[in-house]
């Protein structure tokens, strides 16, 4: 059954039809929220909240737009609100929490991947929320600039500029961290060479 049919039935008040839409998009919405807030538990709450809001306002959805982009827009708005409140109340970030949700049974074999993930998330954390959203929507969800502009507002050109800027900033952050690590390693080596009294 297509999205349009499911939405039509959900608008008529059929809860199972809406739950089918939930099943279809829950991973994407959860992934988006994870990337946005870097917190697995919060991402789960935000994804649920996004679906709830979509259900409450399903009758205002017009079929001329895609349900998926409409849903993403709701999810992004939920994330923005959360980030705003977190900024306001100063809730500390913990990028390690996210990896707990996807822990593999053999952590030793996955150490490199975990380290890479940690560095990426730390770099993503330092991006402005809008650029983080653009990166996630473009790279992970595979949306076009036109679709991104529908989700985030603005124009497709603005989305393209945001994406380029986000990639550059991300690259800079990752490189800075690499340089920092290299410096730390070399300093440890130098420290090891110094004889202890």
């Amino acid at each position: 059954m297509t999205d349009a049919q499911l939405v039509f039935r959900a608008q008529a008040g059929e809860l199972p039809a809406f739950e089918e839409l939930v099943q279809k998009y829950q991973r994407e919405v959860y992934g988006l929220a994870c990337r946005m807030v870097s917190d697995a538990e919060e991402a789960k709450d935000l994804a649920q909240q996004a679906f709830l809001q979509a259900f409450v306002h399903i009758r205002s959805f017009r079929q001329d737009a895609q349900f998926r982009t409409w849903l993403f827009r709701i999810a992004i708005n939920q994330c923005y609100n959360f980030l705003k409140s977190r900024k306001k109340f100063g809730d500390p970030l913990d990028s390690d929490e996210l990896s707990l949700a996807g822990d593999d049974p053999s952590p030793e074999a996955d150490l490199v991947a975990q380290e890479q993930r940690r560095r990426l998330y730390e770099a993503l954390e330092r991006l402005p929320a809008k650029q983080r959203a653009v990166i996630t929507l473009k790279v992970e969800q595979g949306l076009s600039y036109e679709e991104i502009s529908r989700v985030l507002g603005g124009t497709a050109g603005a989305a393209r500029v945001n994406y380029c800027q986000a990639l550059k900033t991300l690259k800079k952050h990752i490189q800075t961290e690499d340089d920092h690590e290299v410096a730390m390693r070399s300093s440890q080596k130098v420290a090891a060479r110094i004889p202890r009294r």
């Binding site: 994804a47 409450v56 306002h57 990166i135 393209r160 550059k168 991300l170």
Partner: protein, 242 residues
């Protein structure tokens, strides 16, 4: 070459198989192989994109999704039972139409009323001609107070209490030369001459207080007539007549 690099850098994330216009792709095809800076930039951007793609959000597993669905189902059922589902909003655009049309109409009405009652063509209020000096000095104020005889000050309330007791003639309007003096003094912003002070608003109030309604109307009609003739000049805080 550098200006080309600056222009093309924003297309680099899409190169070679992204969302690029044909001319942009051709331009990049010809530029990138010969430009080491752009090649390096492209390689670094690809590394970043690869890093993002290589670290997708880990799937939390079936248990997580089971719990997610259960919790969400409860929330959805609760929302449906409490009638939180908003009605269709397609009609709301039409419902908003009266407000969209009404707001400018109300604004135009308010503007019209404001112009009618405060503009140059506004009717003269019952206190009629309030004559104000542009900026009366304390000395002038004292002179005014002195000029008001106690008899006049006492007479005004008495006449107001019994307006029909004595029918007085409509006061004759000041002669033409005095009006000119008043106007000239106002234009120059200087103090008013002695003769003008005699016809201040306080005296007129006293005169008006002693009139019957008919007399007042006749007096005000005359004032209007004068104004239409152009012999009465009204300003923002000043009115004089000749």
């Amino acid at each position: 070459m550098k200006w080309q690099c600056a222009l093309l850098k924003r297309w680099l994330p899409e190169y070679p198989d992204g969302d690029l216009p044909g001319w942009g792709k051709r331009w990049l095809d010809s530029h990138v192989p010969g430009c080491s800076a752009c090649r390096q930039e492209l390689a670094e951007l690809r590394q970043v994109m690869a890093a993002i793609e290589a670290t997708p959000v880990a799937d939390p597993g079936p248990e997580f999704w089971g719990e997610f669905s259960r919790e969400l189902h409860l929330k959805l059922v609760q929302a449906a039972q409490e009638g939180q589902v908003k009605p269709e909003s397609t009609g709301s655009r039409w419902l908003r139409l009266p407000y969209l049309v009404g707001a400018p109409a109300v604004a135009a009405l308010l503007l019209y009323v404001a112009v009618q009652f405060t503009g140059p063509g506004a009717p003269i209020p019952n206190q009629a001609v309030v004559m104000r000096h542009p900026a009366p000095s304390p000395v002038q104020d004292q002179a005014l107070i002195k000029r008001k005889s106690p008899a006049k000050m006492a007479a005004a309330p008495q006449e107001a209490e019994a307006p029909t007791a004595q029918v007085r003639a409509v006061p004759s309007l000041p002669a033409e030369p005095m009006g000119q003096l008043v106007t000239a003094a106002t234009e120059e912003g200087g103090p008013l001459p002695e003769e003008d002070i005699d016809i201040s608003g306080l005296d007129l109030d006293a005169e008006l207080a002693g009139m019957t309604d008919q007399e007042k109307n006749a007096f005000l009609d005359k004032m209007h007539q004068r104004k239409k003739d152009g012999s009465c000049i009204e300003g923002f805080a000043f009115c004089s007549w000749g």
